[in-house]
Amino acid sequence: MRLVSKTSQYVVMSLFAIVFLAPLVWMISASLRPEAKVLSVPPKFLPSDAQWDNYRQVFELIPVFLWNSVKLAGLNVIGILIVASMAGYAFARLKFAGRDAAFMVLLATSIIPGIAYLIPQYIVFRQIGWVDTQYPLWVPKVLTPVFATFLMRQSFLTVPQELEDAGKIDGASTFGIYWRIMLPQTKPALAAIGVFTFLESWNDLFGPLIYINSENLQTLPVALAQFQGEYFTQISLLMCGATVSVVPVIAVFLFAQRYFIQGITMTGMKG
């Protein structure tokens, strides 16, 4: 389609790119400025004399938060991949009584807004002593990956039957067929779910906000919000923390962009 010439298209696209990237560029440049020069009039987007010392100061505070974020993201990704791929495999390829009914019931739960069960969940977790631990931030998530199960089922449905039959003839157990033969065929779906789960866990605000009080258990993004007045009193240091909390995510996204976009479109229109 040729609505506009190539040059004007580049101009328009570049203007949009500036709008979308400027706040992120400003964040990085503010993190490298002396505190007195963070908010300058007229505004500046590029740092003049980089204060790398800001990062040295911030890295005295944040390793524990960073580790918590990494650890929780890891637990969620591995757990959800295992639980969802097992369930997805069973729903797609095994025959058993009650299979389709169970699948429908699982899907039906996704129409209830999370807040409706988050409140009672909180009360139950408080009763069993899970408040101010990290269990509520991964155990319930790992055990309820309805959406990921749906995606894995779709993916397992497309694997050719001959592969499964060959495994059966070789005498492989059901688990062996799932683990060694079928699972490697679903790598794109696994990658998409892995990226989604990583982002969701890393960027989660609500969970850490309501469950974590001890600072040594807090995740990086939420620590920035909670301990803002305590540790990150200077804007430049806050922006260092913000930058560190955004960079791993952008890196994962750049690295796995293809799977991420595939995942979005897969869930979007073919569901």
Binding site: L39, F96, L224
Partner: protein
């Protein structure tokens, strides 16, 4: 046939039936073992809490002492005697009605720009999508400083153009538009990707015959591209409504619902009632009203699609 062979055949039959039965039982067991983690999880962490939540919505309960059954009083109070509930509801509708057309509209423009195979298109697509993957705390803070009235970036730029900027987050009429702007900026990547996938999947024959008929680019867009994308628009309307109506993070980081209650939205109100004031029963009632609203609007959109969604 002798007596002996008949008995043997019958025995073999029984053995086979028993075998089949045993095999089927094994199959059932294997299947349920594979799905047991998610079944246990959904029962324990969703079904059970949902039942508790339905019950709680009919009680006066602080989550600690014994709940007191009050029937529909929470619902009656919410609609009849809680101005904050009605205001947060209106704020949420405002937020939703403004952000949905903006995200889908600008998302469409970006998708159309990115659909043309030109050099460097991957860079632009990534740039537009980048805010979508960043966490709301980091970008909420960045924009918080951008919107500072005296020395923030936005008013600084407006000042260069000779326009006096408003008080943004500390103004009760400008705080909501400011939050909406940030939300649109962050959320646009999603509709863009969905529509881009839609554009790339359009059959080329239509465009070729339209070109032969002498239809220009605008007419092709208006009469071919947009009608063919209507299923994608329906999908986006449904999903964007569900997410916008439950906005929380940006509000929490940027305004905490203020100034006054100017940006207090539905989920923020539930959050405060449940986790700050300990009004668990009341907050649960609000959660179920939210469910009813989302279910009703989704159902309505699904029913109305006949009027405007075009399926090939």
């Amino acid at each position: 046939m002798s007596m002996a062979t008949v008995t043997m055949a019958r025995d073999r039959g029984t053995v086979q039936v028993a075998d089949v039965r045993r095999a089927r039982r094994r199959q059932n067991l294997t299947g349920w073992l594979f799905i047991s983690p998610i079944v246990v999880g959904v029962v324990a962490f969703q079904f059970f809490p949902i039942l508790v939540s339905i019950g709680a919505s009919l009680t006066d309960w602080n989550g600690i002492s014994a709940p007191k059954f009050v029937g529909l009083k929470n619902f009656v109070d919410l609609f009849g005697d809680d101005p904050l509930f009605l205001q947060t509801f209106k704020n949420t509708v405002y937020f939703t009605l403004a952000s949905i057309p903006l995200t889908i509209g600008i998302g469409l423009v970006l998708a159309l720009l990115c659909a043309r195979p030109i050099r460097g298109v991957a860079f632009f697509r990534t740039a537009y999508f980048a805010p979508y993957v960043t966490n709301v705390v980091a970008i909420g803070f960045v924009w918080f400083w951008f919107f500072q009235p005296d020395n923030g970036v936005i008013n600084g730029l407006l000042d260069q153009l000779g326009i006096p900027g408003p008080q943004w987050l500390s103004s009760s009429s400008w705080a909501m538009p400011a939050v909406i702007m940030v939300s649109v900026w962050q959320g646009i990547g999603y509709p863009m990707i969905i529509l881009l996938a839609g554009l790339q999947g359009l059959p080329t024959e239509y465009f070729e015959s339209a070109k032969l008929d002498g239809a220009g680019a605008w007419r092709q867009l208006r009469y071919i591209t947009l009608p063919l994308l209507t299923p994608h628009f329906l999908f986006l309307l449904i999903t964007q409504f569900i997410t916008s109506f439950q906005v929380f993070g940006l509000i929490y980081v940027m305004t905490k619902g203020g100034p006054g209650h100017a940006t207090s939205v539905y989920i923020f109100n539930i959050y405060q009632n449940a986790f700050s004031y300990g009004k668990v029963g009341y907050a649960s009632a609000m959660a179920w009203i939210l469910f009813a609203v989302i279910a009703a609007v989704t159902y309505l959109q699904w029913k109305l699609q006949k009027r405007w969604v075009f399926y090939t």
